[in-house]
Homo-oligomer: 210 residues x 2
């Protein structure tokens, strides 16, 4: 599902960037107007191409929605999941997940105070059942990555006396909710915000050093 | 906006319950199908009344969406905001907010693992601008209640060295995310879950007792 740049083909190499632009612009207008109320015309206008130009890139609105979600999950994989797997240390893994996921969301935030691609990843009502299964499976893999790291911390007696599932979703809630309130023009920059969330989450989840 | 039962009028006294039923059933089907894809016919069917019966209660789909959100905010006010204001102690107020808001969400969760009314409160794209302002104003009042309590804890030197806004939204994220993952048939009952969230949130936000 991920697209990689091919240095030998300039056309192919521009395509991923163009697609990313289309997905981001489409996500933003879908968040503003709602999925069903947004027409392919609206999206073409937001992207700044003709409707037939848009159909050159995507075959229809439902596939576009699925592509936006897959694009969101690709970014999560590249910028959060893969870097987290570099270390085997569970605490370092959790720290890496928080820092990179906060950065992923804040770097994609619009001035309206939301991160449309992240929000859309939850709008599964517009998908076919087969598409929904694919997205759900990728989400589950991410949940499991976090849960496994917290389980390991529990085994190492570093986790507070907590239920691992409740801890997993509390952490995810803290991070994902950012996509609905963080404004780039606000007081905290992405680094400060990632420090704040790291402090709250780790103090909440981990036993204090003796 | 809140409706109160009138003990002298059995009809008036049944109306709020019937409306609550309609709002919950409508919220659930809107969450499943998406707002625009859901017809008044679908909603009437889900509620188990005729379409004209449904129009007896609500004047149209957009107003229904607004009514569902207002109903959600009414529940929040009655079951979370007002009880929190009983105490002036900031830590007790935060504890009360966590416990009651977790209970509000878990008690409304369907077996599909979501709390449709809570989720819909964020689907503001379907509202008129005036309706959106009303809902936003009520949400802001709730955010401020939490922020003020955390500011007071900061003054009392009970809060960790944290930015109050980041702390407010991290807490809200932990609680509100429950509406998207908690399944009543799961391992944790609402009391246990509210204990878990309280532990994570308070350990994350407050300095430890010396």
């Amino acid at each position: 599902m991920r697209t990689t740049k091919n240095p030998f083909s300039p056309t192919a190499s521009d395509e991923p960037d163009r697609l990313a632009e289309i997905y981001r612009a489409a996500a933003q207008i879908i968040c503003e107007k709602g999925y069903d109320a947004t027409s392919m015309n609206d999206i073409a206008e937001a992207v700044g191409i003709t409707k037939s130009g848009l159909y050159h890139h995507v075959s229809g609105k439902r596939n576009l929605l699925f592509n936006i979600m897959s694009f969101g999950m690709d970014s999560l994989e590249e910028e959060v999941i893969i870097p987290a797997q570099v270390t085997d240390d569970a605490e370092q893994r959790i720290r890496s997940i928080i820092r990179n996921h906060v950065h992923l969301i804040t770097s994609r935030s619009t001035s309206l105070g939301n991160s449309p691609v992240t929000i859309l990843v939850d709008e599964v009502a517009g998908l076919t059942l087969a598409q929904r299964r694919k997205i759900d499976q990728r989400k589950r893999a991410y949940v499991n990555l976090i849960r496994d790291a917290l389980s390991k911390l529990k085994e190492e007696d570093k986790l507070r006396d907590l239920d691992v599932t409740a801890a997993t979703f509390s952490l995810l809630g803290m991070i994902l909710w950012l996509s609905r309130w963080y404004k780039p023009q606000g007081r905290l920059n992405p680094d400060q915000l990632s420090d704040e969330v790291t402090k709250i989450a780790l103090s909440g989840l981990l036993r204090q050093e003796p």
